[in-house]
């Protein structure tokens, strides 16, 4: 799986070439909580060219720990974008035809304003004085970026997991600004089980003595707390079957048990490794803020949503994965149900894959073909109108 999951891969080429993260700073927005966040900087990358009509733009929304660097090789650190196999000339999101945009969410730590950013009023990082943000706030900030780029209507908004929530939020907040939407492995509202996993991760961070009430910048880092949070996360991203296939009961030394508490099983070592590499690239406070935003996500009551979406001029492709137990297929079917009650055009596919929730981040022909063919037909249909 490691070879396939391209998170953090360096030394690989991409047909997209070398890419650079850009920044857009504006006066800020009033958040859903009522607080004002100002100013706001958004880190973003773009690939391909915006056409003359400015109607070929696709916005990719990233998941919990993603960033704006979705494709190509980063000029900064040589890393491959997190969804590189999906984006590029001739790929599912074909950069010969479409203008692809990806931005880092607010609350994050990859260039957009978040708890690790300097609060202009105090001159020190926000820490826990950073206001709580929601998925809706993230989308409102993306809208400002889209306005700035001169785009009135996105041809497509796409993303998996938390990215899928942003996709759904886009169609709800700005239905006239979206033509097609591709929510993948996601849900219309966060469930108690999903909230519970996030809360365990947050508690792990906050109970780390190095966390210092979130005010650890320049002093310490709650690494062990964040490692545990990431380990829990990773368990939910895999599946029982993929863990069996990948690790089995394999151990370091296969002859005898160690009879101690060293990371002995392959699965233990893997989670430890995943956790430890994660803390090098992610801010603990951002983990708190973003998981909270996800937990707050609830697009609305089904009946209201059906009324809201009634006969709207939108086209959906909803994708789920058979072994995803974090965002199981039934939650995608719920989205489909609402949309079809509203007579909105919705295609649904459950891709069989043993990988679990992470399947959408792993190169697979099925997802690529679905997205490519769906966009191709939608583009043709759009031309006819």
């Amino acid at each position: 799986m490691d070879q396939l999951l391209i998170e953090g891969v360096t030394g690989k080429d991409s047909p997209v070439g070398v890419t650079e993260t850009k920044f857009y700073t504006f006066d800020g927005i009033t958040l859903e909580s009522g607080e004002k966040l100002s100013p706001i900087t958004v880190a973003y990358e773009t690939y391909g060219n915006l056409n003359e009509n400015k109607d070929n733009a696709i916005l990719i929304c990233h998941a919990l720990t993603g960033d704006a660097h979705v494709a190509g090789v980063s000029k900064e650190d040589g890393k491959l974008g997190w969804w590189d196999f999906m984006i590029g000339p001739g790929r599912a999101f074909d950069t010969d035809k479409y203008f692809v945009i990806c931005s880092n969410v607010i609350g994050g730590c990859k260039g957009s304003t978040g708890p690790s950013s300097i609060n202009p009023e105090t001159g020190v990082p926000y820490g826990m004085s950073f206001p709580v943000v929601t998925i809706k706030d993230m989308v409102n900030v993306q809208k400002r970026l889209i306005d700035y780029l001169g785009i009135k209507r996105l041809f497509c908004v796409a993303g998996g997991s938390m990215g899928g929530m942003q996709v759904l939020q886009w169609t709800y907040s700005y239905p006239e600004c979206v033509y097609t939407a591709i929510p993948i492995a996601t849900t219309i509202r966060h469930t108690p089980q999903q909230i519970a996993f996030n809360e365990v991760g947050r508690r792990a961070i906050m109970s780390d003595p190095e966390w210092l009430g979130g005010d650890y910048y320049g002093k310490s880092f709650p690494a062990s707390g964040l490692v545990v949070a990431r380990m829990i996360g990773h368990i939910t991203y895999m599946s029982d079957q993929s863990m069996k296939e990948k690790f089995g009961r394999k151990r370091k030394k296969s002859e005898k048990y160690g009879y101690d508490f060293e990371a002995e099983f392959e699965v233990e070592k893997y989670l430890k490794y995943r956790g430890e590499t994660f803390v090098q690239r992610f801010d603990a406070n951002s983990y708190l803020y973003i998981t909270k935003a996800i937990d707050y996500f609830d697009l609305g009551e089904n009946r209201e949503l059906i009324k809201f979406y009634d006969s709207r001029d939108l086209k959906f492709l909803v994708i789920s994965f058979s072994h995803d137990w974090l965002y199981p297929p039934y939650q995608s079917k719920e989205i489909v149900k609402i949309l079809k009650y509203a007579w909105v055009d919705v295609t649904y596919c459950e891709i069989s894959s043993t990988y679990g929730h992470d399947a959408f981040l792993i190169q697979n022909e099925e997802q690529e073909n679905l997205v490519r063919d769906f966009l191709k037909n939608a583009w043709q249909q759009k031309g006819k109108r």
Binding site: L317, K333, V336, K337, K340, Y341, W343, D345, V346, T347, Y348, C349, E350, I351, S352, E366, N369, L370, D373, F374, N377, A378, Q380, Q381
Partner: protein
Amino acid sequence: MTKEISFDHSLIVEIIEEGSKILDLGCGNGELLRILMDKKKVKGVGIENDEEMIYACVKKGVTVEHFDIDEGLPDFPDDFFDYVILNFTLQETKKPKKVIKEALRVGRKVIVSFPNFAYYPVRFYIGFLGKTPQTKALPYRWDETPNLHYFTIKDFIEFCSRERIKIVSFIGFTENKKVNYLPNIFAEKAMFILERIN
């Protein structure tokens, strides 16, 4: 559209009114829906349980959902569609009665087509050869067939009267023409248009 339309598809094209709302249960590769979208400007949705077929539908630009129709259609309200189509699907379902009832609930009219198991070459296979029939409409060997139910035109008419389902019309046909004379013997396939009796 240079490809020739199959006879069963052309029969359905004749039946469906322009701009109808259609649900195609077991829509396969989406060919029929594509034709109906192009020729009758229908608003169509397909349901299919075979993942490969979903990809084929999306490739054609046909709206499709990945479901098992044997589980019923709980996510569809009553009278949602003008027509629900079961084109050579019913014999492959586990619970044909349940599927028909659900189709009649969500659609105002239901089109059902199936291979007629009393077609005379089929009778010949069983009666004279003592073998499970393998014909154009029933092309599979017994151990490889996706068909779970074998029934005849007579069976189906009896089923409809038993279940209080109104038969609006009926067509018996072969590869390329309608059969009016003794259809339960001479029609290879049958197509019914059904309605609920309220």
